[in-house]
């Protein structure tokens, strides 16, 4: 069967089956304009011709594809081996980069000869902070070979609860404690570095950063009274304090407006991250300064 180019139908009779089919289709389309009685019969004819045309087109494509793939496989063997290496290399690079990407889930790791070394990433409000690792030996019982978890994080307690029964739970729990610690530490560090002007003395803090004590002035330049704040984070899986006391270190009683301020500060420290509370004090200071200019 000769296959003709369907785009140039003027090949005369015997110019190819496809061309012939197209002519038939054109004819039947003309006849379509004839009286209604013949309509359904012609409709069927058109449909049949169309499906035959499609089948033949598919056959053409298949045969053409067969020709090109035959050309490709005739390449010398040498080329084929190198491209296998290339393919493997590309795959390897791809897997390596995906492995790197796992740190963005907060939990990552590497297989070791003993078992696995898991890396825990911490962050607070979009700030990427320290990472910690736990090197586990896959044995019965599972044990921790070494780690970089700070001593004030209750690692033994968490391990005793979950390590043997559910590694995932052990790691997620550790994640919680570490992220909270990282977040509290970040807030305390930011207070010390960015808002030192508001502190009337050194910031007192413990290693776990769950007990903070400091004296501050909400308006460092103004006539405000220094307040003493004590922040206790009883729940060490959280980054906000559970107990806050703001007191006035003076002998006179506080006026109502100052008492209101003291109470509102207590509330602020309970609900907003520490450095953001001071950032709001700073913004208020700025506004006051602006008012004084006019």
């Amino acid at each position: 069967m000769e296959l003709a180019n369907t785009s140039s139908p003027e090949g005369g009779p015997g110019a190819g089956v496809l061309a012939h089919l197209e002519r038939l289709e054109a004819e039947s389309r003309k006849k379509f304009e004839e009286p209604q009685g013949a309509e359904s019969a012609l409709g069927n004819k058109i449909r049949n011709l169309r499906s035959l045309r499609d089948k033949l087109r598919a056959e053409v494509n298949r045969r053409q594809a067969g020709v090109t793939s035959h050309k490709a496989s005739v390449e010398p063997d040498q080329t084929f081996e190198v491209s296998e290496q290339e393919v493997l290399e590309r795959k390897r690079e791809n897997v390596k980069s995906i492995l790197q990407a796992y740190r963005f889930t907060g939990l990552s790791g590497k297989l070791t000869s003993r078992g696995v070394c898991v890396s825990i990433s911490t962050a607070f409000e979009g700030n990427l902070l320290d990472s910690y690792f736990v090197d586990l030996v896959i044995q019965k019982p599972l044990r921790i070979h070494h780690h970089s978890i700070p001593v004030f994080i209750p690692l033994e307690e968490i391990a005793a609860k979950y390590l043997q029964s559910n590694i995932q739970h052990f790691l997620f729990s550790l994640c919680e404690y570490l992220n909270a610690y990282s977040g509290r530490k970040y807030q305390a560090d930011r207070l010390q570095s960015d808002f030192a002007a508001f502190l009337a003395g050194p910031l007192q803090r413990n290693s776990l950063c769950n007990l903070l004590s400091f004296t501050y002035k909400a308006e460092p330049s103004g006539q405000s009274f220094p307040f003493c704040a004590r922040l206790l984070y009883k729940d060490i899986t959280r980054t906000l304090p559970t107990d806050v006391t703001v007191t006035y270190q003076g002998t006179d009683a506080l006026s109502t407006s100052w008492e209101e301020q003291r109470a509102s500060h207590e509330n602020l420290f309970c609900t907003k991250p520490l450095h953001q509370v001071f950032a709001s004090f700073a913004r208020r200071e700025e506004k006051l300064d602006m008012n004084l200019l006019y």
């Binding site: 081996e81 493997l88 980069s97 995906i98 990407a101 963005f104 790791g109 000869s113 994640c175 992220n179």
Partner: protein, 153 residues
């Protein structure tokens, strides 16, 4: 024959045979499977672009500013996700800070309305870790609920 460690560690050397390559690839794929099981998250695609924003004036003052653009996609069981985020790295004499400056999470399944709640919260707070943790726990909870209902059928 090479020991496990030799094959595993000979990362940066040139590849002598595709046999070495294949065994290393096998090890890496085991690692991937392990992380998949551990986190409950299956990352299928990842790409990153790095843009150096350090001006010559900054370089003089020993300040470096780099913007990283990350794109990753994958699934957590039946839920597929696509995450795009930007990390701004700022380094001066004292310290190095990395901050997520933009986070976009695209979830395909709108069937779970509870999901869209914590997704928008994670985007707002630029809390990438929270998104993955919550996704994992949400899927686990769904599976648990399914099993419980099956039990009572």
């Amino acid at each position: 024959r090479k020991s496990f460690q030799e094959i595993y560690q000979s990362d940066s050397e040139g590849w002598k045979t595709s046999k070495d390559l294949r065994s290393n690839l096998g090890n890496l794929e085991s690692e991937l499977l392990f992380l998949n099981t551990l986190t409950g998250i299956n990352i299928r695609k990842y790409s990153k672009k790095i843009e150096n924003l350090t001006s010559t004036e900054m370089t003089e003052r020993r300040i470096k500013k780099v913007l990283q653009r990350h794109k990753l996609s994958g699934n957590c069981h039946m839920i597929t996700f696509q995450v795009e985020f930007q990390i701004l790295e700022f380094q001066n004499k004292e310290n190095l800070s990395s901050i997520i400056t933009d986070l976009n999470i695209i979830m395909e399944s709108t069937a779970y309305s509870e999901l869209s709640e914590f997704v928008s919260r994670a985007e707002e707070r630029r809390d990438l870790f929270m998104f993955f943790r919550s996704l994992h726990f949400f899927v686990e909870w769904c599976e648990y609920r399914k099993r419980t209902f099956k039990h009572f059928k």
